[in-house]
Symmetry: C2
Subunit: 244 residues, 2 copies
DNA sequence: CGGGACATTGATTAAGATCAATTTAAGTGG
DNA sequence: CCACTTAAATTGATCTTAATCAATGTCCCG
């Protein structure tokens, strides 16, 4: 689960350690064929790939060949419409499964772009499907994985549909904080990996507005912002604000 | 596929006809256990249920017991947050599978509320899962069904995040028009089943704004609006506008 | 150390929200 | 079936929030 606890450098420069795989959130999908028992102690050695900052894991229109388990780093998911409008729909971090957007049609509908140098495990689509066929538990887990994205987007829809700029930013920070917490990092002080531009786009507003809201939140002593360093000073107030 | 072509009254007052099931988009999920061949000619006789206008198919928090295939009528999907803010995330029509939001946690995260008297087929969760276990093709189809919702929400996120009121309404009307077309109805003239309030909420704006946009679109001869009767007069212009 | 991307703050404008007043349609019960 | 009640829709006047335009500051990296 807590793949994020393994530092990128450790993973990147050494051959994959079995222990790293056994604690992986995707262990169930990753087992070699014919070894369908949930207690399998020898997960397959998956190929891994470093994605440098600004590079993409995959792009809109690419055929769905692989899923990618994000092991370290972070990513932005971006949809683009026919006239070039862009929307960042999520900022996945370590532990996230990337590529699910390709399931509907067999082609990806988003770009997945690294916000920092990141590491992914490559899970060939065919292998994962075979595992789901052989292990119904894995198939169900996979369903839940897709459904999780759906529910996440529902919540974001409510944010964009109903909330003010301040409420959106507050909710965004609470969300990042919880992501950090789930990855074993401090939920009260962290570094934002994305630009103000990215945050603004994600929340359906403009850069200047994000800056101003940050300033106001700092003024009100809810947070301490210094460029991308963020410290939460009053979670309760922030959480209250984020509920609209 | 085109369940909407079967009139509600026919379905409601007669025992289910095999033909109705065989042309159903969920036929694959619906087969009785032990009859896993895709060519099965005798689909199970599913229980059906009339949902009257304003009633709910299921509600947030309900345990996921059944999926519901909407056979006729229409529905609004609504998410609510902790402080009572509401967002309508979709307006499914005949052919849609309802209940997928419950997959992640086993409990529904939305309300599904009938916009008019509607008819659903009840597909017990356990039965559908058994079919997916026995028929991997059904399982894959099911994955795509969930992923479809996810991608749909992505597109709506782009709408709410990047577009003006006019562009949103234009896109909404194009969407309804395509829904109508896919159900075998005229895509150029139809009745809106939802209130202005519902439309406004869905598009992240206020009722008055929806009214004003309708008026402007009519002024510009793109549509003819008379209460809930809607006629599209210039699809090209409308489609162009909807792209942002 | 210099260039370019990113971030911040101020001044002004504009899109859409809010407030208010009718009009119209849809139920409901006598 | 009609009178009455209530929900839904429309339009106008005004206000607020966030967008836009503009200028400057800061940091990272080659």
């Amino acid at each position: 689960m807590d793949a994020a606890l393994v530092s990128p450098s450790n993973i990147a420069w050494q051959p994959a350690m079995p222990s790293a795989c056994q604690t992986c959130s995707a262990e169930r999908f990753c087992r070699p064929v014919g070894q369908a028992e949930p207690s399998s102690m020898f997960p397959v050695d998956r190929s891994r790939k470093v994605i440098h900052r600004g590079e993409s894991v995959y792009r809109t229109g690419d055929a769905l060949q692989n899923f990618f388990l994000l092991r370290s780093g972070s990513v932005k998911m971006r949809v683009t419409n026919s006239s070039g409008l862009e929307q960042i729909t999520a900022f996945p971090v370590a532990g996230a499964m990337l590529g699910l957007d390709g399931i509907e049609t067999g082609h990806h509908t988003c770009d997945a772009i690294a916000l920092e140098d990141s590491l992914v495990c490559v899970l060939p689509f065919a292998d994962l499907m075979r595992n789901c066929r052989d292990d119904f538990g894995a198939a169900q887990h996979f369903n839940r994985l897709i459904a999780h994205d759906t529910n996440q987007y529902c919540r974001l829809l409510l944010t964009l549909g109903c909330m003010s700029a301040e409420e959106r930013v507050a909710g965004f920070l609470i969300g990042i904080s919880e992501q950090m917490s789930a990855s074993g990092y401090s939920p009260m002080a962290f570094t934002l990996k994305m630009t103000r531009e990215d945050i603004a786009n994600h929340l359906g507003m403009k850069v200047e507005t994000v800056c101003r809201v940050f300033s106001r939140l700092q003024e009100a002593a809810l947070v301490q912002v210094r460029k991308r360093q963020l410290e939460i000073r009053n979670v309760d107030a922030l959480r209250k604000m984020s509920c609209g």
